[in-house]
């Protein structure tokens, strides 16, 4: 295993510097039933440093940090915090010892105020009453001190995402955390907010606090961290000092092979640069003046227009949460647009429902297969039917003969394992679950394919299979709209690349003109 070799390669920076260790996790294993989320993970974090924990989706980062913060108990292994054994402690013990975690998903109670969320579990009291005044003034002064400004008397539901993120960090600080764990804190932040966050974290480091930050974005790793631990497939595969490494090296450790290879692998784009200008009449998909309101009633897509040509992969890159999900939902008919039109070929499908769009030639690989893409308790065969059920009906209802035939073919064609169509989708691995979705969406006539995060959470073998499928679709003259948070994926596949930022296309370039360095600033709104 190459990972084992690379993990032993870098020396422990902390040990070198002889600084005291804030966190030391050794040989930590954790499994959930059959899923082995962490395998013999080692993590060392020196006091007073910012430590980045990186790895692909599903590598086990969150799980490891949940163990550190006492939310999960490890199946085996030991944990020390500031030299004291903390193996198997609970949330309260972790909090008491100064370990606080900001979770990947907001852990705030929307109906409570900022102050109430902060003091929850550690409330100031006057007599037996909650001391609301003190709670608010404590929060206010903490906010002043750290520069994380929020109004303590507002309820969480009224806050913007950035503000909510600040509350999350304040919550941890309020508990006197000296070791802060931040799980993908920037995923939902706008670039200025990210900068603000960096300022805050550096300030905390200056005060002697230790920070562990999980992120997928290498530029952030480089920008903020002192040291890095890379995880892959549940293992810790590398420990690097930021100053003496490069994004390429980190990426290589993350995916276990040379990323540069992936970039070079781009086949000569079938669609010429001439189609790089939008507005061609025979576009496979064309979007005009699209505006969309988000769940909070704010404008998340702002007068967007673009075309996807037949035989082209149109890639949309960008930090998640910049309107990509809403865009896909609107194109697929799962969400209403405020204004604007969607055309499939020459047909105006703006008023169509999901089914009619599918019949008009739209295929859709949704970004969240567990929620949208699959009915987990349905069999593989039934999942291959989802959205196509009206094409498999006869006078007596569903035509199970044809359905079985169809399923058998698809399972074979798309190499779904185990190849038993009657198994529940839930029992399959992530990669094979994704193959079901792809088989369904690409195994039928279509002219336009929406592919959202098509390789998220699937392994290398499956990634290559999926990429090959997308290229095949292009070769077949389909229009593919690829949305991915993984820039290298977009660079590797797309013919034209747009970066989505705050509901608009920040740039639209032929892929041949794109590099990660060029697109980076657009993704962060810096360009």
């Amino acid at each position: 295993m190459s990972g084992a070799a690379s993990s032993s390669a870098p020396l422990s920076a902390a040990a070198e510097a002889n600084a005291p260790l804030a966190v030391r996790m050794r040989q930590v294993c954790k499994h959930f039933g059959a899923v082995q989320a962490n395998r013999d993970v080692n993590l060392e974090v020196a006091a007073g440093e910012i430590h980045a924990l990186v790895g692909e989706n599903g590598a086990g980062k969150s799980t490891l940090m949940h163990i550190l913060s006492g939310l999960h108990t490890p199946s085996s292994g030991t944990i020390e915090v500031f030299g004291r054994d903390a193996t198997g402690w609970d949330t309260n013990a972790a909090i008491a010892a100064g370990v606080g975690m900001v979770h990947q998903h907001f852990m705030l109670v929307p109906t409570l105020t900022v102050a109430e969320n902060l003091v929850l579990g550690r409330e100031p009291v006057r007599g037996i009453q909650l001391d609301q005044m003190r709670a608010e003034s404590d929060v206010r002064s903490l906010a002043e001190r750290t520069g994380l400004r929020v109004d303590p008397s507002r309820t969480i539901a009224e806050l913007s995402v950035g503000e909510a993120q600040r509350v999350e960090i304040l919550k941890v600080l309020y508990r006197g955390a000296r070791v802060l764990v931040l799980d993908e804190p920037t995923a939902v932040l706008s670039p200025p907010e990210v900068d603000e966050l960096w300022t805050v974290l550096r300030g905390l480091r200056a005060q002697g606090d230790t920070i562990i930050i999980i992120t997928h974005k290498l530029d952030e790793v480089v920008a903020i961290s002192d040291t890095i631990t890379v995880m892959r497939d549940g293992r810790s595969v590398a420990r690097l000092a930021t100053a003496s490494t490069s994004p390429q090296e980190i990426a290589k450790a993350m995916v276990g092979r040379d990323v540069a290879l992936a970039l070079d692998a781009r086949v000569g784009s079938a669609s010429p640069a001439t189609s790089a200008t939008a507005g061609s009449a025979n576009a496979a998909l064309s979007i005009r003046g699209l505006s969309v309101l988000g769940d909070r009633g704010n404008l998340v897509i702002d007068a967007l227009s673009f075309d996807v040509q037949p035989g082209e992969i149109f890639g949309i890159a960008g930090v998640e949460g910049n309107g990509q999900s809403e865009l896909l939902d609107v194109i697929a008919g799962l969400r209403r647009a405020k204004s604007g039109t969607v055309h499939l070929g020459n047909a105006d499908v703006t008023a169509f429902d999901v089914r009619s769009r599918a019949d008009a030639g739209l295929s859709h690989i949704p970004e969240d297969r567990h929620r949208r893409g699959l009915v987990l308790d349905y069999s593989i065969a039934d999942n291959l039917l989802l959205g196509q059920q009206h094409h498999f009906s006869n006078a007596m209802g569903l035509d199970y003969g044809r359905i079985a035939e169809h399923a058998a073919t698809q399972v074979r064609t798309f190499d779904i394992r185990p190849p038993n169509p009657s198994l529940a989708a839930r029992t399959l691995s992530g990669g094979n679950q994704q193959k079901i979705v792809i088989a369904r969406e690409m195994g039928r006539p279509f002219t336009v394919l929406l592919a959202a995060q098509p390789t998220r959470g699937v392994d290398v073998g499956a990634i290559e299979f999926i990429h090959a499928q997308l290229r095949a679709a292009r070769a077949d003259g389909k229009g593919v709209l690829l949305v991915s948070a993984d820039l290298s994926e977009v660079l590797a596949l797309a013919d034209r690349i747009a970066v989505m930022y705050e509901g608009r296309l920040a740039c639209l370039l032929p892929a041949s003109a794109c590099t990660a360095e060029l697109l980076g600033p657009y993704m962060t709104g810096a360009a």
Partner: protein, 366 residues
């Protein structure tokens, strides 16, 4: 590739049967304890219970009679449950169905051809149940109102209004029932199978079984059933698959109500030929138990309906030894036990399954 398939079938069988069997076993233990508090021997009581139900044609006929209503209310609960909804309103829907059937039977001329009359009354029963079910359906689909609370509250409203209508306007003097219908009679089984003579069992049981088969077909063999179940399991995925989720909810509640309403013809067309205040007598709530034990599957529901009908008829048979309230307790215990063991067993089996698949796939790759 036969290994995983066999495994799948075994698994499914275990999933379907383990929990209900466990639940019934728990109920038996509770029953034993209660019988012992009365100073009777559980063996004797259970023997008497069986003897009075499955031990002779008449007792079995009574069981069949009760089974009919329970199949319908069980189907009602299951059909909504498959769409992810809790229809707790079968009690009211059942009463409404019986009421409509009786009114139609009263209104029809005596000379109406039997088949036509029965069909009209049956359609009326299902229609009234459907309308009663549609109210929570609309409120859920349109406003997101909890169908649990709405159906509970609606039970009170519907039953009170029917009572009012009957007691104040329609009842035969000195009774709580309407006049005997003019048309729409369904024969009792005793009419052509003399062994059943005297028992209330009637041909509507056939209609109930047909309803179960139709429900099975609708749930598992049609497009709308496919969509219904998808909505119940994962509404987001169903929506992605082109299903209109609120409309599916509404349709599910309408059919659910129709199934419950259908149960009304048992008493009205097959037995007494009039609507009587209180004839539903808890069958609506028992339908929840039937559906749970039957795992929301029409075949399971038929079996579970037989089980609960046996318990209920058996209560009468053992009345000499222990109070029949024993049976009320047992029925509640079965519901609690099934509700508790089903998710537990499911978790256990799922863990075993994913472990097996995991093992299987690593074997394959290596």
């Amino acid at each position: 590739m036969s290994a995983p398939r066999e495994h799948g079938i075994l698994m499914r069988a275990a999933q379907a049967l383990l929990a209900p069997v466990l639940a019934v076993a728990i109920a038996m233990v509770v029953g034993d304890l209660l019988i012992l508090t009365y100073g009777e021997s559980p063996g004797t009581v259970y023997a008497l219970l069986l003897e009075g139900t499955w031990g002779n044609a008449y007792g079995f006929g009574q069981v069949l009679y009760k089974t009919m209503t329970l199949i319908c209310t069980g189907l009602a609960f299951a059909y909504a449950a498959r769409a992810g909804l809790f229809n707790v309103g079968a009690e009211g829907q059942l009463a409404a169905g019986g009421f409509a059937a009786a009114l139609i039977g009263l209104a029809l001329p005596v000379a109406t051809p039997a088949v036509a009359a029965v069909l009209l009354c049956t359609a009326g029963a299902m229609g009234a149940g459907a309308v009663t079910g549609a109210v929570p359906g609309v409120l859920r689909a349109r406003f997101g109102a909890s169908e649990v609370i709405v159906t509970i509250m609606l039970n009170f409203i519907v039953l009170a209004l029917l009572n009012y209508a009957v007691a104040s306007h329609l009842a035969v003097p000195e009774t709580l029932h309407t006049e005997v219908m003019q048309a729409g009679f369904v024969s009792r089984l005793g009419a052509f199978l003399p062994a059943f003579a005297g028992s209330a069992a009637n041909l509507t049981i056939v209609i109930a079984v047909i309803a179960a088969v139709v429900a099975w077909w609708a749930m598992f063999r049609t497009r709308s059933g496919f969509e219904l179940r998808a909505v119940g399991l994962q509404p987001d995925a169903a929506e992605y698959g082109g299903v209109n989720v609120p409309r599916t909810w509404l349709r599910a509640m309408i059919w659910s109500g129709a199934f419950a309403g259908l149960g009304g013809i048992n008493f009205v067309l097959g037995y007494k030929h009039y609507y009587e205040e209180g004839f539903a007598a808890g069958s609506g709530f028992l339908g929840i138990a039937v559906a749970l034990v039957g795992r929301n599957h029409p075949l399971g529901i038929i079996a579970a309906a037989l089980l609960f009908a046996t318990l209920s008829q058996g209560g009468l048979a053992v009345n000499a030894l222990v109070p029949k309230q024993l049976v009320d307790i047992l029925q509640a215990v079965v519901i609690l036990a099934v509700a508790t063991t089903v998710p537990e067993v499911q978790r256990l089996l799922q863990r075993a399954a994913s472990a097996a698949v995991r093992r299987g796939s690593t074997e394959q790759t290596t």
